[in-house]
Structure formats: C-alpha cells, structure tokens
C-alpha cells in the first residue's frame, strides 16, 4: 500500500515537473498574463501615463456627454428664466398697465377705507372697467405662453391681489409670501422662486416683480406675480431624457439643498423626496447649490454609483440653484461589462488556444526526450542492444545520435567493467571470507580476553596486549598503579607517552624484537611513577598462526632493584671494609712487628751486654726496649681508639666551632707558647652539629699536625676557618708548613701512614680524623701543592641534626 502511494506520488511529481507540463504551464501562464495585461491596459489604461484605456475613454465620452447635457440644460433653464423675467418686466414696466393699476388702486383704497365690508369690496372691483382692462392684458400675456397658470397683480401696500387672470384670486392676501416680500426690496428686480400657491397649496414657480413704470420713481404701487406650473415646463425641461438611457435623471435644489423638483427614485430610506421639504445633502449637490460646477464619480441619494454633472444656476445675485444631471455607472459601463465579457471570452479562448499550441510545442519538444528516456530505461534493465531513433530532426536528432554513440561506448565500457567486476568480486569475496574468519577469530580472542580479563585484572603485574602497530588493545588494572595513568586513556593508542626517551628506546626495542618472534625481557622505568618494571613480551598469534600483536607482562621490580642496590652498596662497603681490614691487619701486623723486633733485638743485646757486664749498654738496651714497648703500647691504644670510633657514638649536638677551637688551642697551649706559631681564626665561626668529643679530637689532630709539620718555616701560621655551604659546614685547617706532595694526598689518611718517619707519631691520627668525619656523614681531604707549599685540610660536617641526634645533610 505504501509502495503504491509512493509510486503515485512519484508519478505526480514527474507529471508536475515534466517539460511538457512546465512548458504548458509557463508559456501558457505567460501568454495568459500577457493577454490579461494587454486586455486590462486596453480596458483600464496604463498607470502613470495619459492612456486611460477603453474604460477611461468610454468614461471620458460619457463625461463629455453628461457635461454637455448639463450645460445645455443649465443654459436652457437660465434662458427660460430670463424669458420669464422679461415677461414679468414687460408687464411690470408697461406704462399703460401701470396707469390702470394706479387707477384701480385708488379705487380700491377708496373702497377699502370707506367700506367696512372688505370682502364685498374686493369682488366689486371685478365689475370695474379698469379691472377688466387689466385682466384682459394679463390674459393676453398668459395666452402667449401656455405654461403660465395665472398672472396676478398685488397691491404693494396691503399685499392683496387686485387683478388676476382668475377672478377667484381677487382679494387674496400674499403679503407673507417670499415672492411678494422680496419683490418689494429695492435691490431686487425679478424674483424667481418655488413656493406653495396660497389658494390651493400646490407647489408652483413664482415670478414676481415690482411695478415700476418710472424707473426713477421710488414708489412701488404693485407687484406682478406670474404663476408657472412647474410640471408643465420645468419638469419636461429637466426630464429631457438622455438618449438611450433608462437611469439618467435631472433634478434641481435650492441654495439650502432642498428639492425643487421631484426625484425619479425613492430616497435611501424608501421615502419619496418632497419638494421644498426634502434635503439632498450629498457633497456634489451642496457644491452645486453653493456655486460650484463640475463632474464627479460618486453615489447618489440611493447610494448607487453614478456619474454626475452638477451646475450652479445663479438666479439672482443672492440666490442660486443647483442642477444635477446623473446617470448610473452600471448603465454607463454596461457596454463595458459586455465588452468585459467579450474580452473574457477572448481571453479564455486565447489562453485555451495558447495552451493547445503550447501543448503541441511541448509535445514536439518532449517526445524525443521521452523516447530517449524510454531507451535509457530499457538499457538500464539490461537491454544493451537497443538504440534511440535518429530520425528526429534538428537538435533532437543530434541528441539521439550522440546518445547512441554514448550508449555504444558505455556498452563497451560496461562489458569491460563487468569482467573487472566479476574478478574483483571474486577477490573481494575471498577477502571478505578471510576478514570474516579474522573477525571471528578476533572475536574469539576478545572473548578469551574477556574471560581471562578478570584474571588479568586481579594480578598485581601489568598485563597488556598491543597490536602490530604498537597500539594498546588491552590493559589490566595494575596499569594505573604502575604508570599513574588511566587505562581507558590508552586503549587504541601507542605506549610511547609512558616512557622517557631512554626507556622508550628500550620499550620499542623490546616490542619490535617480540614482533620479530623473539621472546625478550627488559627492564624499563615508567616516566611518571619511576616504577621499574621487568617486561616480558611474547608475540600473539591468531588461530591461523597470524601475528596479531604482542602480549606481555610487566612486573614491578623497583623494590628488588632497590634491594639489589642496597646489597651492592653493602657488598662494596664490606669489600672496602675487608680491604681496609686487610690493610689494617697488614699495617698493624707490620707496624706492631717493628717494635717487637726492636724489643726482641735489644733483648738479645741485653743478654749479651749482661754477660759482658756493659752497664751503660745495658741501660741503653733497656731504654730502647722500653721505647719500643711504649711505642707498641701507643700503637695499640690508638688502634683501640680507632676501633672505638664508630662503635661508641656520643650524642650529636650543636657546637660552637669557635669555642671548640679555643678549647683545643688551650689543650695545645704549651706547645703553642714554645713556638712562634701564629693562629688565625675568626670570631664568628658557625655552629656545627657534631659529637663534641670526637670532633675536638679531629681539630686537635689537625692542628697538631699543622704544628708538627711546619718544617723550617720561620713564621709559621695556622689558620682555622669555616663557612656555611648549602647542606654542610666546610671547615678547614690551613698551614704554611712543609706541604704534602699530591701523590700522597690519599695515602696520608691510611693507617700508620707517615710521610716523615722522623717525626713523632703513630700515623693513625688522620685515619682517626677521617673515620670521625665519615661517621658524621662528612668528607675530609687535603689540598697542597707540594713541598713547602703548605697544606690545607678540608672537612665537612652537618650544620643540623634530626630528633634523634643524627646529623642531617
């Protein structure tokens, strides 16, 4: 189901984006747009230009027509009004008529003032000849223009009708009517207005003018009033229909916007517009009433869109009417609407034709392409023998030919490729099989590794596996303890960061050697922890015997190494000691042998001398034996003393080197005082941390030697000094005596070694001093350039000690 919908969607997509569809759509759309554009411009004009299109031109023609009609109607109306005014003027200015009017007025006045029965008096006038003459005259004027309903003469003073074409009007009071009042105003001549007839209340047009037979006479005797039935004239004038128009309408309003003529249609509220009562307050109507003229597109009193031409009719300097001529837009543009339909039909037909034409073109264009795609599909399905039809003309034929050439080439290439593919596939298959096996083996190895992982993790030695590229594959927990690094940071990475340069060289040599099949073992030190490990590597093979890496174990031998060093050190010490003991034994035996031999010899002499009775000789022999025995005793005492050093250790303490020196010098003061030796030592000698008793022995020994071996120095000087160095105090005893040749510098510290045998001493002093200094953790040596160059003995002692009284460096 899903496949079907996918296929349908693909088909739809293909259809939408195919060349045919696109050409159809774009060209068809383009054509439709251009056509629509042309039609619209043709109909409505081009914006920002003067071309208004058919719509505009039609509208302009209608406007012109409407304007013309409005102008004609306006002129016609104004002319008609002027003609009526002329009639009124003629009557009003007729001197003959005015004479009769005056006579009638006199008569009326006489009757009016002197006859209480006013109603009767007015009717009486009808019998008067003056009245009849006037009436005849008025009827003559009336007959000259059929729309005059009646003509009246009203008394200017009282406002009563004194003469009329209709007898029944006599005596009627018109004094309150505008047409009468305004007519009397000195500024006004003819008055033209629409008002209600007082007699029958019908709306009429009234034209009035004061009678003024003598224009320079300010006295106004009467007013002429002409009644005009608007229905008879104005309406036809106004309602002159525009040719072929059913909606056109003309109406008049006064300066207040009140209707002066009936409307053709009901108002918006469906009421009928009443003359002189209903107001049309539309802007163009008010404009017309107020003095503007023009043409506008607007809505009329029904709310219908209309074209309206409006005119202002100036009836008098202070009054004017508005004339409106209008026509419904629907009627005006009905023709246009018909045209619109025609245009629409043309447009649709044109577009339809365009689509057909475009479709044909699209077909022609897409057919060869579709054919090519069909051929390509068949080729894709494996039919390499099919070729495109080259009978198409033009680019399509060229495309087909080129396509075929391309297919030929592709076919050749395809066949060659197929062979290669087959071959390569076989190779790949083999490789694939191999890799699959490798993976299986690896998996097995990994499983095995996992199985033994726990075991490996629990051993204290570092266990590891590397691949053939030197990357670490496996590490056990001991790795962290040995290297100070987390194992997970090294998986898949080389081991080189674990070592310094020298050790890395060893590790690499071990690794590469193992890869070459050697079972090697090396000692390597980890850089970060300093732990020394004994590495044992062996190559790792898979089930096929393929080398896959190196497996190894590294054991921490740091303590073992330390033990070995300690042992070696001790061994060396022991050897030294043995050597020393041998030397000591030899020396002791040799040096002790000497006085014994002396004793033995002189005992022989003594025996002889006793026999001989040589008393002096006997004394000398006993002296010699005595001296040799003393010497031996001294030797033995000093040996004993030497042996004590190291066995009997006194507590170390901070000792003032200055005070100790003074003490030693006090001890040696008798010797010093019998000599000219100058002693130099500073007062601020530092504190030393020593066994006081033993250290004074050292000082005493050295100072004594310096005194003893002054030689022939006339001004012997012994200098004692010390200076603080970083971890010890460097002391020295310096003399300017006989010096010691450099070849004897080490020898002087040997047991019973005396360079000058003539001097007194056992030759153990310096040995003792050396031993004492060494017990203190220091070092003693001498510097002398040789004979008579003096000699300086240097020795180091600690400047501080620990809680237990042991000196510390």
């Amino acid at each position: 189901m899903r496949n079907k919908s996918n296929t349908a969607s693909l088909k739809m997509k293909y259809f939408l984006f195919s060349i045919r569809t696109r050409i159809l759509f774009y060209f068809g759309l383009l054509f439709a747009i251009i056509l629509a554009f042309i039609l619209l411009i043709g109909m409505y004009g081009m914006p920002f230009t003067d071309f208004t299109g058919e719509y505009g031109q039609h509208r302009d023609i209608e406007f012109q027509n409407l304007n013309l009609i409005a102008e004609l109607k306006k002129e016609r109306l104004l002319r008609w009004i002027e003609e009526r005014k002329d009639d009124a003027r003629v009557i009003a200015n007729s001197s003959i008529l005015n004479t009769y009017i005056n006579r009638l007025l006199l008569l009326q006045e006489k009757n009016f003032y002197h006859n209480e029965n006013k109603g009767k008096s007015w009717k009486v006038i009808q019998n008067e000849a003056d009245y009849q003459f006037i009436q005849q005259h008025l009827k003559l004027v009336q007959s000259s223009y059929e729309v005059y309903d009646k003509i009246q003469i009203a008394d200017a003073k009282m406002g009563r009708i004194i003469a009329s074409t209709h007898d029944e009007d006599i005596g009627a009071d018109v004094s309150s009517y505008n047409y009468f009042i305004k007519a009397l105003h000195p500024a006004n001549s003819e008055i033209f207005c629409i008002d209600k007839d007082p007699l029958n209340n019908q709306l009429k047009l009234f034209l009035s003018r004061k009678c003024q037979p003598h224009q320079n006479n300010a006295i106004i005797p009467a007013v002429v009033i002409i009644h005009v039935d608007s229905r008879d004239l104005i309406n036809p004038l106004l309602n002159t229909k525009i040719k072929n128009s059913t909606t056109s309408e003309t109406f008049l309003v006064n300066e207040e916007g009140k209707l002066l003529t009936a409307l053709k249609y009901p108002l918006k509220n469906n009421s009928v517009g009443n003359i002189l009562e209903s107001e049309i307050t539309l802007p163009f109507v008010i404009n017309a009433a107020m003095g503007q003229e023009g043409i506008t597109v607007t809505k009329d009193y029904r709310g219908e869109p209309v074209l309206a031409a409006y005119r202002h009719l100036r009836i008098s300097p202070d009054s004017g009417w508005g004339l409106i001529v209008k026509k419904d837009q629907s009627e005006i543009f009905a023709v246009m609407n018909k045209d619109k339909i025609t245009f629409l039909i043309i447009g649709i037909s044109g577009t339809f034709l365009a689509f057909i034409f475009t479709s044909l073109i699209a077909n022609t264009l897409s057919k060869p392409i579709l054919h090519l795609s069909q051929v390509a599909r068949k080729i894709k399905e494996g039919n390499w023998n099919i070729r495109a039809n080259t009978t198409y003309k033009g680019e399509a034929g060229l495309l087909a030919t080129t396509f075929n050439s391309m297919i030929d080439r592709i076919q050749l290439h395809h066949e060659s490729l197929e062979k290669q593919v087959t071959l390569r596939t076989k190779e790949l298959q083999e490789t694939n099989d191999r890799l699959t096996k490798e993976i299986e083996d690896r998996k097995k190895s990994e499983d095995k590794l996992k199985k033994y992982g726990m075991l490996f993790d629990n051993i204290s030695d570092l266990a590891y596996i590397c691949d053939t590229n030197g990357n670490i594959l496996f590490l056990n927990k001991a790795f962290e303890k040995m290297t100070g690094r987390k194992p997970e940071t090294f998986f898949g990475k080389p081991f080189s960061p674990l070592f310094d340069e020298e050790n890395l060289k060893i590790a690499v040599e071990l690794y590469t050697g193992t890869l070459q099949g050697k079972h090697l073992q090396r000692e390597v030190t980890f850089k970060d922890t300093g732990i020394i490990c004994e590495y044992k590597n062996m190559p790792l093979f898979d089930n096929n015997g393929q080398l896959i890496g190196v497996i190894g174990v590294a054991r921490d031998i740091t303590s073992r190494k330390a033990s070995e060093r300690e042992r070696n050190k001790l061994t060396k010490e022991l050897e030294m000691k043995n050597e020393e003991l041998e030397r000591f034994t030899y020396t002791v035996s040799h040096d002790l042998k000497s006085p014994l031999l002396t004793i033995k010899g002189f005992l022989g002499f003594l025996e002889k001398d006793l026999v001989d009775g040589k008393t002096e000789q006997i004394r000398d022999d006993i002296k010699r034996i005595h001296s040799a025995a003393n010497k031996m005793e001294r030797l033995l005492e000093e040996l004993l003393e030497l042996s004590r050093i190291g066995r009997v250790v006194n507590k170390h303490e901070a000792v003032s080197l200055e005070s100790l020196t003074r003490e030693v010098l006090d001890l040696l003061s008798s010797n010093i005082s019998h000599s000219d030796i100058k002693l130099l030592f500073p007062q601020n000698l530092p504190l030393v941390y020593v066994d006081r008793i033993r250290f004074s022995e050292v000082m005493q020994n050295l100072i004594e030697n310096a005194m003893k071996y002054r030689g022939n120095q006339t001004k012997p000087i012994i200098e004692i000094g010390a200076k603080k160095e970083s971890e010890h105090i460097l002391c020295y005893v310096k003399d300017n005596g006989i010096g010691i040749h450099p070849r004897y510098h080490d020898k002087v510290f040997g047991l019973f070694e005396r360079l000058d045998k003539s001097t007194d001493g056992t030759g153990i002093g310096l040995t003792i001093a050396k031993r004492i200094i060494e017990i203190h953790g220091g070092r003693i040596w001498l510097e002398s350039k040789g004979e008579n160059q003096g000699c300086t003995f240097y020795f180091t002692v600690p400047q501080k000690g620990d809680l237990y009284g042991h000196p510390q460096s």
Partner: protein, 385 residues
Amino acid sequence: MHIKFVGTFSLVHTIAYTILFAVSLFASTTAGKNHNPIAFSDLSQHPIYSKYKFTKGDTIVNFGTQPLYLPTGLITEAMRRDKILYKSLSELGIQINFYPLLKGDDINFFLKQGNLDAGIGGDMPAITAAATLDIVIPSLIQQGFTSIVANRSILIENLKNKPVGYAFGSNAHYALLNAFLSEGLTEQQILLIPMDTTEMPDALHSGRILAFSAWEPTPTITLNKYPESVIIHRTLSSGFLYFLRSITERNPEIIHHILAAKIRAINWIQSSREHLLLTSKWALDAARELSDSDISISIEENAELAKKDILRFSSAPIIPENELTRNGSLFREFEFLQNINIIPPTIEWKRVYESFDRRIIIDVLTNPEKFQFHEFQYSSIAINN
C-alpha cells in the same frame, strides 16, 4: 431679515460712523503695526505705476480699476466716461481720478499707501483689504466663475500628483483647493505650479501643466486658442467695489454717487447690445493699453462673458447676505487666506464682516431719482485719464 429702509444720513449716523471709523482706524493701525503679514513690495517703482502721479487731497478721490479683470472692466470703463458721475461729485467739490492697475493686490497696496481711495478687487483682495485696512465694501461688481481648465476631459481626482498652474493667494487658488477638497484630495496631493494667468494657456498646451485654475478671461482665451482644452470645474467667485472708510469722513455722499455710477453703468450696458459691445471694446482697449500680454479675446466674446457675469442680473449688485454668514463662501475664503498666511491669524472674522455694508447700496437704490440710475450721459473717451 427685515429690511429697514434708511433715508438720508442723520447726525446720529454721522457720529456713529465717525466713532466706528476711529475705532477701525485704531484697530487697523494696531493690527497693521504688529501683524500685517502682507509684504507689499514697493510697487511705486513698478514700471507702469511709477509713471502715475497720485494727486491726493480732501477734494480728490483716486479710484483704482482693473482693466484686465474682465468683465468688471466694462462697468469701470463706463464709469470713467460717466458725465453724471463727474458732475455729481464736482457738486460735492470732489474730483475723481481713475487709475488702471494690474490686479487687486496692487490696488490694496496703493490703498494702504493712501494713494488710492477706492478700488475693485476679487473676493480674495477684498477680504485681504478688509482684514488689513479700514475699508467699507458696499457692493458687488462681479459674480462669475473661476474655472479649472485641463488639456482634456478628466476628473478632478485625475489631477492628483499632476502639475497644475495657479496664482497664489487668488480666488483661483482657493477654487482649486476647494475643488480638490470636494473630491477628497488635499493640497499636498497636487503639484502646484505658481504662474501668471497670461502664461497659463501656453503652458497647458505645451504640457508643462495638466490644468490650471484662473478667472476670466483666461479660460475663454485658452478655449479659443486651444479648442481641445476643456473646463472641468467652475467655482462661483465675486468681485467687490470698496472704499477707504476715510471717504465717509470727508463726505458719505461720495460713495453713494460712485455706487450710483456703477448701477447706472450696469443699467446702461444692459439697456442695449450696442452699449454692451461698446463698453466691451472700451474694456479691452484699456486692458491692452495697460498690459503687453496677449488678450486674445474678441469684443463679442468679452461682451458674452460680461453678460454671463454680473450683467446677467437686472437686480442691483447687492452683496448676498448668506455669503456673510459663517456658512458662507466669504467666511471660508477668509479662513483660507489665514491658512496660507496672507491674513494673520490674529485678525478676526468680525473685522472683515463689519467691512461689508449692504445698507449703503440700499440707501442709493431707494433714491433712483436722486442718483439718476436711468439717465445716461457717457463720453466716448475717459474723462479723467
């Protein structure tokens, strides 16, 4: 409104007018000092006016006319030849001199300077004068249409953003804006091109402007010269005859006689076509003498324009009362002039309203015999050049 007939001026009236004059003078002086926005350039240096020698004095009345302001020129040219006028004024010891000027603003300039005592102007100059000078406006002298002429038949709304020629501050300017307003457009939506009326016909024909707004005879001249032109809108406009109020101080009868001369001229022109054509010729001659511009309108056409204008009415040219109300056109024009800063905003309508005095002409009209409305003695040439 009940019309009261007023007879001859009584002492009370004289005192009242004098007080009114004094107050108006004070007000106008104050207004003039502080707020007179009108920047009259020195027209005394004008090439035409510099030749005028304005003689002033209590016995002189200098009257400014506008020969180019057709068709009022017919009336004023008749007045210039009215022997009865000169005789009536000379009986009062007054000599009247007529000075033709180009436009209403020029008349106002010389009124302000005191070189003129009376003049003619369209509604805009008349209202401006009423707002800034102490004048009295007793009567109409023109009531016709200002037209918007386009180069083809178009609606007003089609003038949006198009160039339209006009004369700034004139009734044609007002009429143009009014027409736009009636179609819901604003001044900002018109491309107003200020120009002289004499330039407008050719500018329209050349396409420099799409339309122009002007008073007669420019629209008629344009239609004659370029028949494809069309009048697309008209607005009723008026012209007035007005005097410096100081004249009433000298002698209020002066205004009466001049008004009478105007009424007489109208009556004389209306009395026959021959008179109409004759006065039309006089007006055109005077216009051409004053200006070098092309006044391509015939005597008959000029006469027809006059007939369609104030001369159409046989009624006296009284100022319509409804025009002086706050709903009336004069008040709206007053507001317009304030909006465009020709009249300062501090000037109140009351000042302008009180300049209009309908009673004076009624006084005259009620004495037809005295003022000889229907006696005519016209010279063939202007009596005082």
